[in-house]
Symmetry: C2
Subunit: 415 residues, 2 copies
Amino acid sequence: MPVNLQAPDSAQLHPVAGVRIGVAEAGIRKAGRKDLTVFALDAGSQVAGVFTQNRFCAAPVQVCREHLEQSGQGGIRALVINTGNANAGTGEEGLARARATCAALARLLHIAPEQALPFSTGVIMEPLPVERITAGLPNAVADALADAAPAHWLRAAEGIMTTDTVPKAASRQITLGGKAVHITGICKGAGMIRPNMATMLGFVATDAAIAPALMQPLTRQLAEASFNRISVDGDTSTNDSFIVIATGKAGSAPIAAPDSPEGRLLAEAMTDVARQLAQAIVRDGEGATKFITLRVEGGRDGAECRKVAYAIAHSPLVKTAFFASDPNLGRILAAVGYAGIADLDQTRIELYLDDVHVATRGGRHPAYREEDGQRVMKQAEITVRVHLGRGSASDTVWTCDLSHEYVSINADYRS
Amino acid sequence: MPVNLQAPDSAQLHPVAGVRIGVAEAGIRKAGRKDLTVFALDAGSQVAGVFTQNRFCAAPVQVCREHLEQSGQGGIRALVINTGNANAGTGEEGLARARATCAALARLLHIAPEQALPFSTGVIMEPLPVERITAGLPNAVADALADAAPAHWLRAAEGIMTTDTVPKAASRQITLGGKAVHITGICKGAGMIRPNMATMLGFVATDAAIAPALMQPLTRQLAEASFNRISVDGDTSTNDSFIVIATGKAGSAPIAAPDSPEGRLLAEAMTDVARQLAQAIVRDGEGATKFITLRVEGGRDGAECRKVAYAIAHSPLVKTAFFASDPNLGRILAAVGYAGIADLDQTRIELYLDDVHVATRGGRHPAYREEDGQRVMKQAEITVRVHLGRGSASDTVWTCDLSHEYVSINADYRS
């Protein structure tokens, strides 16, 4: 049961001029399910990406990096995404199969293989069924080139799901220099979520024009404000990829300076979309029943605030207490204590649960009453605020609880 | 259901001359349960300890450090241990209550308050009911001074339990210079287990004589070989304390050099006891159904081997796969990949499950068959061996799986 998250309404997902999307059933792992998605991008699109820092990165991640290097960010013309198999832990053969997938798509679209980027998600360490993918590609490409293809964002969001229970998409329209500009994105992911650069799979496209030099820093900035601030279970995936596409087809003037009014407006709207997508992953986290915002303030720098936030986010004891709606809040203090800040002074720590002041100077607040903690813990959305009393930096991380359902899902995933 | 762990047989726990133990019901959290334990040590005993590195360390841990500093390791004459309340996250008032507990015990034993060490375990951030403890102390002291007190080790192991399902004790007898020497220890802990210096509570005593200068290095060495190599849920407790006592009452010559034959013999026997206790905590880990040995070889140094081992040990996805007996072994490779070794080369990684060679050069081994992995995964005890192909260092960590029962226990702990 996702937390306050519903399937997006297809009518509210703005098409992005220059992006065509097609979906097909390739029978990669299970029959009768749309498991293959193709993006065809008009010439002139800019594409940038950030990828997992997992040293066991999957074959498609390695091929994405190669192809971006070879084609340049102005040379990418297609994406191909399969679910059911992550093509990770597959050695040299996995690389060959990811490249074969790109080559098959390139033949259909009359582009070079290195102009295609491959993405895979699913089970790790099983051979990618590349024949099924190549057999399914003509249908996916035909679907992408059909008239209605600009409206296929919702189908793509469905096509990339694995243990997700809800497709994830977000969209905004803004006006830049008098032109309507659209930003639409999709993502997937529910478990193995502790992105380190990007999430499992996230794609955000805009028809705004963005100067090539801005693409990579913007992509990183978006990832930092969204996917790099969430955790479901602390497991950093082998396949995390976050791709930003700017087609320039809206006719707006190119954004050349990130701090121009238009640059800020676009970055804000794109951040909104990316953050909504990232939060959707947490809301649909495997077994999640609560959506938790962890706000750490009063740190010396952002890095130590994040250390504390992730220690709380990854504590099984804290997560099960949220599941139980049990204000066993000493568990949060314990996690703050082992977060790895060597000179932390516990007598300066303040802890709040929404508006309730739980702990002061490292001990229970004299006015704290169990029933106040209980009231907040029963909510579906909770903000935990920790003040470290060491400086003025702060940061925020979003996470969920740990429930029986998480164990069930992951004890049964392959069977 | 603990994994291959039974309650110790009291007859096999050797008394340690110079150590007397008493237990009483103080009604600290629940009525009708032995929740207060006292150790009375003969004059001349050496006592050393290592404590949690959690910056939110509990009041009793702070008082232990103070009293060891004030009395010296030859001056400690008593320990007092309560369950039901951790006296952590309790601020200045918590320190005052821990000191009051020591003062009450000191009056009964005619020693100075700083000759007593306090230990608490249980719920965090609730006030320690010090009146109930002081009211229960006379019974505990009377029990310790009774004739049969040397045989009270099993009762102490029971007296310090919280969510443990089995009392934990281990014992050895060796001969040093013709004298029979005894080593007996107890510990407790089942959740919030990822010791960083020591476990929740562990006590090992010997009647051998050990030179004062050797006590602290020996204690650290024992902790490193045992409690600092286990993890149940990755949550480092606020109260971890590991205490080593040498009474010298066996009449053996003092151990003055760690590398003498006698020194090595004693250290080996004490390591055996400490490791058996630490492993008992994992076997009785909250909800545990499997006992997992994680052996990481081929690292550049021990620290990076431990990084990899703990990344595997703390991965909820790996732990749930063990619970399901599902050889979803790509999850182990993913954890190796995000363990934080920046220049790890995935094409050098080898993975074994007991005798089964699962992955080679970062991909599935050509001879690996799912049914072989399945066979090992169904066992109650499993060894995972990862070879990093970077050097000759190795290390071992012990952990358990993550089951529905873990969630149930921790969602219900306080209610």
